[in-house]
Every structure is written in C-alpha cells, then in structure tokens.
Symmetry: C2
Subunit: 146 residues, 2 copies
DNA sequence: TATTGTTATACTCTATAACTATA
DNA sequence: TATAGTTATAGAGTATAACAATA
C-alpha cells in the first residue's frame, strides 16, 4: 500500500535530511571565503599533488569545470599548476602552504558542523547510522523513465 | 582532529547517500512522464484540494514556480484550477481522476525504488535508520560564511 | 589519431521583482 | 494598502562540444 504522506517514506526522509545536511556542510566549506567546490578541491589535494585529470575524476566533476576552480585557487595563492615534465600535456596540481592553512580552517568548520548535526546522537549511535547508510543501495545506474 | 578523507566524515556520507537516494527517488517520480516536481505536487494534492498559495508553501517552492507546474498538470488533464468564490483572488487546486491514476503509478514506482534502496536492511533496521535520521539536527538557520 | 587542458555555448534552475486583479 | 497569482528577467550551475598543444 502507498504511503499517505511523503514524509512517511524512508527514501524521502533520507533524501531531505541528506540535502539539508549537505547545505550545512557547504556553509562550513565556505568558511574561508571559498566556494564549497573549491574547498572540496583543497581537501582532495591534501594527501599530495595529482594531475588535473585525476583530480577531476576524484571530485567527480567535468574537467572543464575544474579549470575555473583551479583558476580561483591559483589566483588566491592556495594551489599551483605546473607542467608535468614527463608529459607536457599534463598539469600537476599541488596545494600551497597558504592552501594548507585555509584547509585547516575549513576542516575545523566542517568538524564543528558535524558536531552540531549529530549532537543528539551518541558516538555509538553515530556508528550505527554510518553502518546503516553504508548498506543503502545507491547504484549509479540510471533509472530515468520516459 | 580532522578527518583525513572526506568519506570518513559522517556528514559527507549522509549528504552523498541522501543525494543519490534523491536521484533514485526522482527517477521513480518521473515514471508517468512527469517532471519530478510535478509528481511531488500530485502527491501533495492527494489528501484534497487546497489553495495555490498553501500548495506552494507545502511544497516549499516559490509561488511563481508553482505556476508552471500547474500549467503542465492542467494541460495534461491531471489537475484543475478554479477560482475560490469566497475570494476571487485565490485558486483552488484539485487533482482530477486522471491525476489520481497517474499518482498511483508514481506511488508504485517510488515504493519499488525504496524497496531497492533498502533491500539490504531488515524492517527493524529501517526503523532504526528512520529514528536516527529524525534526530539529526537540521535547523533551517543559515550558516553562510563570508 | 588520441589525450590534456581550455574555451565557448546552450540549457536548466532558481531567485527576484514587476505587474494584474481582487480584497 | 495588501494579497494571490502571473510574467519577465537575470544569475548560478551544468553539460556539451569545439579547439590548441602535445603525445
């Protein structure tokens, strides 16, 4: 039988809570004055330098979109592009020291946002939530209907 | 201490799973050839007729956006607008019989999507997930940072 | 010929404000 | 003057394809 109200549906609940959680996280990502996507890019660069193409794949954004992101980060002095000597088509992207400092602030803000979001849950409950979310089936296959 | 990888963060996990869940739900909402927002509008109209303004508030969309939605639904014969005799500024919006039939198909598709999404969880686990999600703090206050 | 990064273009969404008709 | 609905416009976001440099 159909649910009377969309709020009765677990899928809607997960979708809506996820959306609001994402909005809160994005606000935290913007703490250093960066566009959330730019801050995400810094997070992705934290472990070390990588090629522009791999970076786009890791961020799951189109390479053409990454161009603007890196232009922003580079002009703000937070990241640098340099040619790969081994393959001069490639750009190696690396975070600068200023970028690492900005990332620290972003990390702190995101941590604070998560403390707020999950303030009503014990550490154990947060762990249960994590495990349950990990078991939600989110195949990437398209279910577009005509 | 900061999480090394964004995927270690529960907030990111909830946001990302929520987004993918939303995409799956939207695909199901489109089963009758409707835009997901139009299908959501039909769901909202299921309990009975309501004013256009209240409908916009219930859907949490701008009244000006609802105009296009209702134009679509009306031209497809799935909903009707009529003037409120008591206040001729208002429109009373009501679902037609064809709209109810379309909604049935939508409901079935959404139900199927939810069965897929939560196939790996027992009914009890789904209940635990629901309760935990209900306790996530998602205040609507803006946390925009400059 | 294929690949990397870049640029340009177009399309969707959304947010805003002006406009009308009613009150 | 305020409200319900409508229309028009502009901005952000995104997806796509064409392009130059290099392999």
């Amino acid at each position: 039988m159909a649910a009377t109200d969309s709020s009765d549906r677990l899928g809607f609940l997960l979708s809506f809570r996820g959306e609001l959680t994402g909005a809160r996280i994005r606000a935290a990502l913007g703490v250093a004055g960066l566009h959330p996507r730019n801050a995400m890019t810094l997070m992705q660069l934290a472990p070390g330098a990588m090629s522009q193409r791999d970076l786009a794949a890791a961020l799951e954004i189109d390479p053409s979109q990454l161009v603007a992101v890196l232009n922003d980060l580079e002009s703000a002095g937070l990241a640098e592009r340099r040619r790969d000597p081994a393959d001069r088509r490639r750009h190696i992207v690396e975070m600068t020291q200023a970028g690492a400092a900005a990332l620290e602030r972003v990390d702190a803000a995101v941590g604070e946002a998560e403390r707020e979001l999950f303030a009503n849950l014990t550490a154990e409950e947060q762990d249960v939530l994590r495990r349950l979310l990990d078991r939600v089936v989110v195949d990437r296959g398209d279910h577009d209907c005509g």
